[in-house]
């Protein structure tokens, strides 16, 4: 009897430990994992974008709700409340899509780079240094094409002016000089780089 009791207690103890362990493991496995470090530090640009979008959506939702409330009021001359509501929803969806598209386009690295380049070009363009450099570089290229030779002096003058030009001006001049040299019209008399 004592042995039986002992065995019974042992069984109960084992089952209890098993249950406790099982519950412990289950609760450990089902608890939510902590947010990763990266999620805690979201991109400020994305945050701003989301805030803008949220504000836009809120404003539009309020506008739609107010329209719906107005439409719900008995107005004998207006019986198109459901249609208006549908239109407003599609308008809202369209506006959201447009906002998202514009936000994405504005924040893309290419757009950022293009914006920065445009700002940099605008700063340089038509400054006294730029005007003088463009005049000098343009004159050198025209003279070289006319004289059919690219000399050490041309190289130095062009090199000095090149740094003060905008990319569009550089491209414009290179589009004249490079083909003239490549097709043999202008003879290169310099050693090493052209400028």
């Amino acid at each position: 009897m004592t042995e039986q009791k002992k065995g019974l207690w042992q069984t109960i103890a084992m089952v209890s430990i098993g249950l406790i362990l099982g519950v412990g493991v289950f609760s450990w496995m089902t608890q939510l994992p902590p947010l990763p470090e990266q999620q805690a530090h979201t991109d400020p640009q994305n945050d701003q974008r989301l805030v803008k979008l949220e504000q836009a959506v809120m404003a539009l939702t309020q506008a739609v709700q107010s329209n719906q409330a107005k439409a719900a009021q008995p107005e004998p001359t207006k019986v198109t409340a459901p249609a208006n509501s549908d239109v407003s929803r599609s308008d809202l969806a369209q506006v959201i899509r447009e906002e998202v598209r514009q936000a994405m386009a504005k924040e893309s690295p290419e757009a950022q780079r293009a914006k920065e380049e445009a700002i940099a070009e605008a700063k340089i363009l038509n400054s006294p240094e730029n005007k003088a450099a463009y005049q000098s570089a343009s004159s050198v290229v025209q003279t070289a094409v006319a004289a059919k030779r690219w000399t050490e002096e041309d190289k130095e003058t062009f090199r000095t002016a090149f740094g003060q030009l905008t990319n569009n001006q550089r491209m414009e001049l290179m589009n004249v000089l490079a083909p003239a040299i490549n097709n043999g019209h202008v003879k290169v008399e310099v050693m090493g780089p052209l400028f």
Partner: protein, 128 residues
């Protein structure tokens, strides 16, 4: 006489030990094309241009991060024919930076001289 012979052999062994490691084993494939220029393209190995018999040839590319950023490539062949093209694109800098003395460079562009391709191939066979 015997002592002299021993000295001679000793010096010879010492000399061999000192210089044998600096003697290269010139084996392996060797392909070092000189500069060649075609319609709107140029190619050639840096070593082929540098060690050509004439004094004209060269091939190179440069990247200027401030002016542009601006990439330009230049080549001159043994007949003094010249080809250059340029590109305003910072992403090409990586390719320019990969040029070494084992490079075979190919570049080309349109008729206006704007680069549309730059290929750098680094290969043991291009080394001197």
């Amino acid at each position: 006489m015997k002592a002299n012979l021993q000295k001679l052999i000793g010096t010879a062994v010492l000399g061999l030990a000192m210089f044998s490691q600096s003697l290269p084993a010139w084996a392996g494939q060797q392909i070092r094309p000189e500069v060649a220029i075609g319609p709107n393209y140029a190619y050639g190995s840096t070593v082929g241009a540098r060690y050509s018999a004439d004094t004209q040839q060269y091939i190179w590319c440069q990247f200027s991060p401030h002016n542009g950023p601006f990439v330009s490539c230049w080549a001159r062949d043994k007949a003094n024919k010249f080809y250059a093209c340029f590109k305003f694109d910072a992403s090409w800098a990586t390719v320019v930076k990969s040029i070494t003395d084992s490079s075979l460079i190919t570049f080309g562009g349109d008729a206006a001289g704007s680069c549309d391709r730059l290929i750098v191939e680094n290969h043991s066979s291009h080394l001197k």
